[in-house]
């Protein structure tokens, strides 16, 4: 008998602690939710504005989005958001994520901005697992390498030069790391090709 009362007592106490712990977590979550969403919005906006100057467009870029289904050229099977920058009603640039599937250590997620005329507004790595000290120079926080894409397009350099130097192209690899830059150069090239083919669809007005 005594055993049962112990079990019940301990069980109830455990349940009480579980309720307490869950309430504290939910309370915190409820109180931080809006702030976190706002922070993430600001971070995303800052990331986009690092590529496309916010003086160059006047629409609300975070709501003027187009959801596109998985595209092979962008390295993903999942739906992706395309953020569209416009001035007046003229398209200015599109910003979207693209994935380089063949990094040294798995996928590298990129944010790519392309002006309407097909030149790159810029590229940033937003997620990667490359080797610290070698492949991670693709991160703008560690090196300027990724900045060189600004202003390039499929005609400058020509498509056959969109390779790292080791493969006979125009882009520097890093000492001790060729695979990482190669993956990114290829992914950026594919993203440009995708943009080139689908440009007008990408800027279609959002359905009201």
């Amino acid at each position: 008998m005594n055993n049962y009362t112990t079990i019940i007592r301990v069980g109830l106490l455990l349940a009480a602690f579980a309720i307490g712990a869950t309430s504290i977590v939910s309370l915190t979550e409820a109180n931080t939710r809006d702030k976190i969403i706002e922070n993430e919005r600001q971070t995303l906006l800052a990331a986009i504005n690092a590529l496309v100057d916010d003086n160059d467009y006047d629409n609300d870029i975070l709501t003027d989005t187009l959801l596109i289904p998985g595209v092979r050229k962008l390295g993903t099977k999942e739906f992706t958001n395309v953020y569209r920058a416009r001035k007046g009603n003229t398209p200015v640039a599109a910003v979207f994520t693209s994935i380089a599937p063949n990094g040294y250590n798995g996928k590298i997620k990129l944010l790519v901005g392309v002006y309407y005329d097909g030149t790159l507004a810029g590229v940033r790595v937003i997620k990667h697992k490359e080797t610290p000290g070698l492949g991670d120079k693709i991160d703008v926080k560690k090196a300027d390498w990724i900045l060189q894409f600004k202003g390039l397009s499929l005609t400058s350099p020509t498509e056959s030069r969109w390779k790292v130097k080791k493969d006979g192209g125009d882009f520097d690899q890093f000492t001790g790391a060729t695979i990482t830059p190669r993956a990114i150069v290829t992914a950026v090239k594919k993203a440009l090709q995708y943009f080139d083919k689908n440009r007008d669809d990408l800027f279609k007005e959002a359905k009201k």
Binding site: L13, L14, T28, I36, P132, G133, K141
Partner: protein, 228 residues
């Protein structure tokens, strides 16, 4: 006062250092110690969690049922980590973008459950908080030392990317020790972490052994004349 806290401080920082003696929390320790700044970041996040969890466990120690204390500790620690993560994300977003990746790693740090069980569940709040702080500092010291050693051997610098933690002004804190260093990748990869930690543990043992023989010698010197 000193009698209570003195030993706690010595235990946490040296005698019972969580990383060197208890060998707890190795998963985050080995994974994130590839640079000085990464080590410091994880260290700071761990100190926060350790102090909060020790304090809370100690506060509730009379209510926590002896038979089910481990699940309760796990719940407390997991809630604390989540609350810290959410609050940081909301109010210290910049810092969160840097330390954020380290915080979930703390849940895998058994040093925290270890201190809850070994200390906080049996001691009043004051000493428990100090224990959490000292164990956290001891852990951080090893993280920073290991991080600095791996960074130095791996890429020839110390404190690279300090601006990630201290802001743009800290950019020139980075010390390039070897110019044109070609890098030694193994130090940055997981094997470097294991070897590095092994060497630090060995160093600590050597220092301890030296001290033991020294105090033994003193005893001998003192006792010899007495026998003569």
């Amino acid at each position: 006062m000193n009698d209570v806290y003195g030993p706690i401080i010595r235990e946490g920082l040296w005698k019972n250092n969580p990383a060197l003696v208890q060998l707890l929390g190795l998963c985050p320790l080995l994974a994130v110690s590839n640079t000085t700044i990464n080590g410091l970041g994880l260290g700071v996040a761990t100190i926060l969690t350790l102090v909060a969890s020790n304090g809370l466990v100690s506060l509730l120690r009379k209510q926590i049922p002896e038979e089910a204390r481990l699940p309760v500790f796990v719940m407390i620690i997991a809630s604390i980590v989540t609350v810290i993560e959410l609050s940081m994300n909301a109010w210290f977003h910049e810092l969160y973008l840097i330390l954020g990746i380290f915080i979930p790693l703390i849940v895998t740090n058994c040093a925290i459950t270890g201190r809850a069980e070994a200390f906080a569940a049996r001691n009043p709040v004051g000493p428990s908080l100090v224990d959490g702080l000292m164990m956290g500092l001891g852990f951080t010291a090893v993280l920073v030392l290991l991080g600095a050693a791996r960074e130095l051997i791996g890429q020839g610098t110390i404190l690279s990317e300090a601006h990630l933690m201290f802001g743009e002004g800290a950019r020139n804190l980075t010390i390039v020790v070897f110019e044109d260093y070609r890098g030694f990748l193994m130090a940055l990869l997981p094997p470097g972490a294991f070897i590095g930690l092994g060497l630090i543990v060995a160093l600590k043992n050597v220092i301890d052994a030296r001290q033991k023989t020294k105090s033994a010698e003193i005893n001998v010197v003192e006792t010899v004349p007495a026998e003569a």
